[in-house]
């Protein structure tokens, strides 16, 4: 099916009206024109007579989800070594595994598994960390592009406090590689490069300043980590004695301005820092599964929503073990409840409509008009099949959606069909 051809799909369409509520458009048609939602109708309008139509019957159709933070090379060891302390885990799994991506054959083998699983997942758009290796990262981008995925993918920058085999030889080299890589990425249409300093402890001031300059020249998006755990925050304070804090440190390198910046975790940012992040329009990636697995803590997401910050949900593979954003959304609700019970009774728990919003329009807006089944939005749609979940009583569409969010685990695949930018990228019918 070409992205250019006009077509329609039918089913029970579900979307947010606002962060606090969901609406169901039963037995409705969504029209795709030029890769974009041209309209949503209870009856196919006369003017669309004769276009290709697919009736998905009683199935639910939701906007595509955006996984706003994950590490591609870590997918291979998701769910492994989770009993280790963070530092041990990095040394035993993360760094040795990432170093393997200097070998293109290995990268190809591992990234094929990753890219195929992305296609089958409930998510349609992704904000991905690769490794420091340019070639492997380009290979990954090619695989994702070939599969019809839309994404921002980053070649990682790190020139200090990293194991030798992953440490780039100098800031200069790292920046030169980054420029060459960004240029090579010109050949990709839907998978775009994003500047990816791993985080301040692994990036020299010179490197950070250089990335700030590239950003200013090219307008490239940027992603990094921020305030994930107390020890890391303290480390950054020591490394940047001139700064008022972690956010201010990033800001001093000129990387926060200009839009399309994603900061993962943000568990420990105070009100003042959140205000700064809001002013700059920075996206906060909430990664609850990872924050549990790595003993990081629980981010005050209710505060982010109240402040109107840009925020989305990230699987954070492989700090998070689950590629399923549904599972991650359920975990976000669960940990928000624990946070209220144990830490701060003033912040109400997250709700299903809220995490749905974060996973769709919240993170999706990083890619433009994405994450809604409304006119003018990219035609990103996921057709869900919950026919295997039996029920002794009839469920409303809303109940069916909630059940899926809770029941679809890390390994779960209830995707019947998936469209991204109007292109059918996955169909269970074709596979089975």
């Amino acid at each position: 099916m070409s992205a250019e051809k006009t077509f329609a799909i039918k089913g029970h369409l579900i979307r947010n009206t606002d962060p606090g509520s969901l609406e169901v458009l039963r037995d409705s048609w969504a029209i795709c024109e030029g890769g974009v939602v041209a309209g949503v109708y209870p009856v196919l309008p006369e003017k669309y007579a004769g276009i290709d139509v697919t009736d998905y019957g009683d199935r639910l159709i939701i906007p595509g989800l955006t996984d706003i933070h994950l590490h591609a090379p870590q997918y291979a060891f998701r769910g492994l070594g989770m009993d280790l302390e963070l530092l041990e885990w990095l040394e035993t799994y993360a760094f040795p595994e990432e170093s393997k991506y200097a070998d293109l054959d290995y990268a190809e083998k591992a990234y094929e598994i990753f890219a195929d699983d992305l296609v089958a997942s409930v998510s349609t758009r992704f904000c991905v960390y690769g490794t420091v290796h340019v070639e492997a990262t380009v290979r990954l981008m090619q695989m994702m592009e070939d599969r019809g995925l839309h994404a921002l993918v980053g070649k990682v920058n790190m020139d200090r406090n990293s194991p030798g085999v992953l440490r780039e030889s100098s800031a200069e080299q790292s920046l030169a590689d980054t420029r060459a890589w960004a240029e090579e990425c010109g050949k990709f249409r839907n998978v775009r490069p994003i500047l990816t300093p791993r985080f301040i402890p692994t990036c020299s001031d010179e490197l950070m300043h250089g990335l700030g300059r590239i950003r200013k020249e090219t307008g490239m998006a940027l992603q990094s980590h921020l305030s994930e755990n107390p020890a890391e925050v303290a480390w950054v304070i020591r490394l940047c004695p001139e700064s008022k804090g972690y956010v201010d440190a990033y800001d001093s390198f000129g990387v926060l301005d200009g839009g399309r910046v994603v900061m993962a975790h943000c568990v420990y940012n105070d009100f003042q820092e959140l205000e700064t992040l809001k002013t700059k329009g920075v996206y906060l990636a909430h990664c609850p599964t990872s924050n549990s697995n790595l003993s990081s803590g629980i981010a005050p997401v209710r505060m982010w929503l109240d402040l109107g910050l840009n925020c989305g949900i990230g699987s954070d593979i492989a700090g998070g073990h689950s590629l399923s954003l549904f599972h991650t959304m359920a975990h976000a609700i669960q940990t928000s409840k624990l946070r209220r019970r144990i830490l701060d009774g003033s912040l109400a728990p997250l709700t299903v409509p809220e995490v749905f919003y974060m996973a769709t329009r919240g993170g999706g807006s990083l890619f433009g008009k994405v994450g809604d089944l409304s006119e003018g939005y990219a035609f990103d749609a996921v057709v869900l099949d919950d026919s295997r979940m039996l029920s002794p009583f009839p469920l409303s569409q809303m109940q069916r959606l909630e059940r899926m969010i809770y029941q679809v685990g890390p390994d779960g695949n209830y995707v019947h069909a998936k469209y991204i930018g109007g292109k059918l990228v996955y169909s269970a019918d074709k596979i089975r």
Copy 2:
């Protein structure tokens, strides 16, 4: 395959040596004689030449898991209404749904789905709450017995502080029904009755004392809820002003002595109460998924282990939304990490071997010698198929187990075959 016939299965056997560690017996044979493990060998001994053998090849074989706390009638609304406050959730879902089980046709329809899903799950033994209805509970027990499951199943007792339609008319009636029900259960072999006062707030003193007497006379097992959340604990203190606390209240009714008592949750028991529970040999059912969903808190399980308490893991369907004990085990580890980070840095997080122990020998010992692939234990074995989880590098058997524990979500089914007491109750080969 008869439970009486001697046979052997082969694969990579995994079991705990103690709560702190797991061992893998690669390519080994487990012999079943009369429903019990007769031995485990790297090579099939001469004396067993000619017995039926099944070689599961590269698959993992683990002891059966015991789900030590779940509510059968709540399975129908698992993962629904999780945004509601506890009281609203009970009124919107739990009580209306449980009241439907007065209708045997409905009970049959709902329990069929439940029983079939139990068979396909990673668990082999279960501690189940039914409803107050004798007939529906007997029907459930029959279905479980017919499917080869082993379980303790309870007709619930509640004669106060309950919605009218579920409140038994008097303590006397409740006790008479319980006696008649227990007698009728004489026809079941592997699914046995367990006394099930819902919890103190819904059971009058007279009812509790009466159940204490039945227990003394019959030696029946007993299950209830204990210290799930702060409001409930405070309520019990008000209801039992003579008691020193929640544990003491149960004790005053004479229900804690005599063994085979399961108390679910135990999030808020202090050291003194834990000592009492230890003295009485009470089983503590850790239900982390439920404790998150219902904003209950995080139980200090590390303390239970250090004190050497009897404890197991419960899915607590439908406070917990996941029937997968693997998923529940992973959640137990995750919340123990959050507890350390947020609440009490002195208690180390749980580990994979520890939650595995709790889910196997921990809870299994309630059923006798259950939860180990060692000589003399019931032949409860689960053959796992993780061939769909691709990896770019070879994984050890231990890594494969850990990955499955993390990756098998609420809906996940990676069971290839399942034996309970030597009987093959599930085989993916036969179904596909």
